[in-house]
Symmetry: C5
Subunit: 329 residues, 5 copies
């Protein structure tokens, strides 16, 4: 648990504010407070819930949501504060395994509370920044929260842009695959799954930011709204790309399928050529392999050569026939 506080006019943000001072500071409207709770064990949880209940007096449903980890992004208004759930992406996320982590929190007129179970690079970044300058705090709690959201959404960008490359790369490998390959199918399905997950999160997250950035909540002052609209626009871009990706991923299946069909077609042609040419020739050799005595040409001097020449003509004719039909390559 880290508590930051900034009082109007001060030169720096106070760090490591003690829990005892919190109620007094909260009551002072000239102080902006950020309580960041990184909950890793039962003790942390107990402490967090104590603060929520006794210091902030938050609605217990929101406290329950903080405790759970399977929520969708949402924002809920209460008379004194907003409660929000947003999702950041995990560090190890990639295009074939898109995973997110939950950031819950509260925004009051003069405080921000962030609640999480995992490392958030966006939060670390904001902390570094406020240690350098109190500017972020000077613009108020809503602006401080915007800084966190902004960085959190920016983390999505490289991953989402990677999808384009990943789809391209799979596409190329599909064209080049020598043999039908389940591994590629698994990869396509993984990307599909990631895109579906991305869609699920970004749709709701977009909704949250739309509501926040369009003046629905009095906790966000008018002059801060453009900052949230900016975050909203970044998410909108992610959302739009995700729609394209879904289309392209389903194109990958079709391409994989068509390439396999092409390959099968090629194998069939090879088979056809290798069957269609020897089999008629075998009939001819078979005829002269019969043990009849009285067969035309059998006892002539050039019988074999005539027969062989005939076989050769058939052979050449079939080669030409298949060539014309474009079966050689």
């Amino acid at each position: 648990m880290e508590i930051f506080a900034y009082m109007e006019g001060e030169k720096a943000v106070r760090e490591n504010v003690s829990l005892e001072d919190l109620p007094k500071l909260l009551a002072d409207e000239k102080v902006i407070i950020w309580v960041d709770l990184d909950i890793r064990n039962a003790e942390d949880l107990q402490q967090a819930e104590d603060i929520y209940t006794n210091v902030f007096n938050f609605h217990h449903l929101t406290i329950e949501d903080c405790r759970e980890a399977r929520n969708q992004p949402k924002v809920e208004e209460f008379p004194e504060y907003l409660f929000f759930i947003v999702h950041g992406i995990k560090t190890q996320t990639n295009t074939s395994n898109f995973v997110t982590k939950e950031l819950d929190g509260y925004l009051g007129t003069n405080f921000v509370v962030t609640n999480r179970n995992e490392e958030f690079r966006s939060i670390d970044g904001v902390k570094r920044q406020i240690r350098l300058s109190p500017r972020t705090f000077q613009r108020g709690a809503a602006y401080l929260l915007h800084q966190i959201f902004d960085r959190l959404v920016d983390m999505y960008m490289p991953i989402v842009d990677d999808f384009d490359g990943a789809i391209n790369e799979i596409e190329d490998r599909v064209y080049e695959m020598k043999t039908g390959d389940n591994a590629i199918l698994e990869e396509i399905m993984d990307v599909r799954r990631s895109v579906a997950r991305l869609k699920r999160i970004s749709t709701r997250q977009l909704d949250v930011l739309y509501r926040i950035s369009h003046g629905e909540f009095p906790q966000i002052p008018e002059n801060i709204l453009p900052f949230y609209r900016d975050v909203h626009d970044h998410l909108l871009r992610i959302y739009d790309m995700e729609e394209s990706y879904r289309d392209l991923v389903s194109g990958l299946f079709e391409i994989h399928f068509s390439v396999t069909a092409n390959k099968t077609n090629e194998v069939m042609k090879t088979l056809a050529i290798f069957s269609a040419i020897p089999l008629p020739l075998s009939v001819i050799t078979g005829v002269y392999g019969m043990n009849f005595e009285n067969m035309p040409l059998l006892h002539t001097q050039n019988g074999f050569f005539i027969t062989f020449g005939f076989m050769f003509i058939i052979f050449g004719g079939l080669i030409v026939y298949f060539w014309r039909r474009g079966w050689f390559g």
Copy 2:
């Protein structure tokens, strides 16, 4: 039929209230009443309809809806009460057979009526809870109903989360299937059917909870709305996942199809190799099997070995040819 009643200030909830006392209690605004009707036979039905008509004076269309069992979730406002239909999931439900059961009911300012033909674990749970403490009743009828809805929707969660695993597991089996298999297709189709059913129910149920939780009905006091919004958010998550699942299930068909195509391609290659190598060799043996007397090499000492060597070269050449085309594995 079980009737619970709680009078403001009392220490416990009264159980097994008799039908005769019901009208008097209903008239007292300080009493919160819950009538739970579990209708299993014609007699139960008769009794229930008597109560609805004579004690509560419910609209007869709603009584008809209670009698039927093929309704979609809905909520309808009447001057004195809300009528609702929601669906819980059956105990035996699983991902390949998603089935729901209907819970009908009424919410008035000081009463809740629940009407059903089946066991509901959510209702049993609420009963256990009110036997422990009257807290649920103290917050009023709307809160009591919320408790039922909350538990009912929570029952969906494990089933809905299971879909993810089920789809994954089918996917793995598709990759590993040795032979094209209708059983897997049947399973995929069953999951598809379940997802379709889940969608049908959850769309309407979401609609019901949206309307209830957004202040449309005066029966739900302002301070209870967040509790219903919480249920709504849980349903929203189910709804969002269902959309992903639909996408993934249709991916299963495509994967099954592609894997089958890969298999066919493999079989074709095996066939092609086993045909393309022996058939030309057979032509050669056929040639020397012809009964002509005058054939080159035929009567030489090493004729056989030369021919055999030639056959071996062709054999080796074809092996190399197919190897290069990547047909061996």
Copy 3:
């Protein structure tokens, strides 16, 4: 043409009211009138249009709509009356040939006019009912019309529920089909066509009932609205099921396709086994069928048995090979 009239306070509905009395009755607000026109020939049509124009003074566009038979469901408000078009289902309708018939009509404050070219079981039912008791008329024209709509929509239910069974049954037959079968494809396409038609009608019909049941039209008194909402809810269920069915029908194609692919795969395997085993053996027999004199083993005592043993080993080896690849079964 049948005309029913009911005057407030009377004990029974008057049947076979004469055309001459109609204007006088219409002018009396205490009388509820139902004019049912079953138009089968040009004469009926002439009479109907006379009544519409001269007695009721309906807008001529609505009269044109009554004359035509290719309309979508709709409802249009005029100052004195509502004009509606709804669709009932034909008696011979089934899941592979879903056909509807048009019921046009008017609703005024004290009259209902129904116009049709076909038998409607729903209308016959209402007639039977009003002969038993005037209760339906006592609640006013809007309630009378609701009775017709309610029965008309209820006729959809068994057909719509049948789709589920039909799709299931086709699915089973697809799994069991021994040979690729156009007849099943035709059936699937017929069901698809039916579902498309059902969608087309039910979407518009739902719209009509939504507008009627949500208080948009003053012709429907407040206390009658719940009855229309009930019809609307039934239609909503039909609409929801239709969406599921569309999904399942398109699943049928995929299953048919996959089953065919499985079958082809099986045939290929059989072909491969029956080719791959004899062909190499034929090469061996071909070798010893060559007419060279100087061949190893040829003139030995056990040459044949050694060769035959070798062939048998190859035979066994191939059997094992294909067995391991899972091609037997």
Copy 4:
């Protein structure tokens, strides 16, 4: 260019009004004017634009739209008039080549201007009608325009209804095709293209008529709105059918594909039977064709018959085997 004018109270519509009289007539509110401009060459265009600019004083953007020919249907309100673009269908349109032509125009309180580059049967029809009776003009400019729209939309109906037949007919031919056929695929793709074009036009056209018929524009008097709603309803039917068609056309692809797969399956079976039966027999004949001296049965009296009998048993066994698997037909 044809100009029609009708003055209140006159018995017939004046035809061939001269351009010089136009401004004076326009200024008279008791005169209804229709200017129909059929622009075929640069001269017509020049004249039309002169009239638009100098007589009517239309916004020059609308004049530009009139000049161009690649517009979507739209309607735009200006203080003095409405500008509209609608699409009629070309005479040579059919289900595999759905093409439309543009009709631009203006509607003022007492005038209609129609601008086009092609023959319109709907306009010719209205002209014939107004030569018979001035009734159309008597109801005002908005009613006159409705007449044109009504006929123009009615022209769609037979074409749109034809799609159903065309799709059916292609479906039948797909079932009956003996050999995979690109011509049918081209046809399906043409119909798909037509349906896409129909959708593109009808969606916007529907929008135009929705806005016109729902009282958005003061140029359309209240009592004329039902007439436009009627046109809107006709278009709605077209729109609804187009949606069905899209579904069915994509079904055609699936059917074509499945039928081809069935055919391939059949060919495979034939191939398998014709390979699987002779090949094992050939091995037997090959064995006794080997030139070993010491072979069982070889020198016995009935060796051949025993061997032949054995071959016959294998032959019969295979026939039965394939028969049981349902490969014969």
Copy 5:
């Protein structure tokens, strides 16, 4: 950086206005100013940001957006100005590689600022025009901006119309392809990707123009709105076509697939004919190639001819059989 200014009443637009004069001119409401910033290096960027910050005092979020190059089209209102991002298409864009470039900018009551990193033909065009006549400036800043948008959107038209041809051309090549061809698949996928990108851009751009052209922003005077609506309508056409294209592109996959399936079917038939005819004949020749002494016909005079005749009958019979099944072409 180019600055244009026009003072009411002047005969020409002033070019190359110096940066120093800018603040004074901006303060004069009778002057219309256009600042066009073509930013190619860090120095340009520095200068641009100085102007934005010091001269115009723009919100720094918009300045950030100008700096970045991965934005979606948007429009944002600030008290003194509008900020917009629109996309033009790059010169090298074609149907298989649809790429856009960003144009950012601001619109105030008397100024337009355009910010870009690339050549824009639309901007060059507007510059040429204003050098000819100050008319564009005379109508105000909003009209000037409209001119840029109008030309920018018009650039889309030929590219978007090309898609139709490109899809047609690919379709034709698919029908004519001799051998399954990954190159065509790559092309189809490229077009699909282009259509997806076109959709992504045009959806948001349409939204921007819808908001601008429907009177939402006070910066656009009433009389200029029709001009923006015109641009909106052009974009709407692009949007509508894109939807059709998506449908057709996915049709291309299906056609490619069906054509490949047809080809495979053909190859199979050829294979079947070339296998099914020789193999039975080989059995017969094999029989008489067996070295039994006691075989029927073997030692007769016409044995060979009878056998050969029998083979010929089988040959003919099979030819007829396959002919009847339509396997010859």
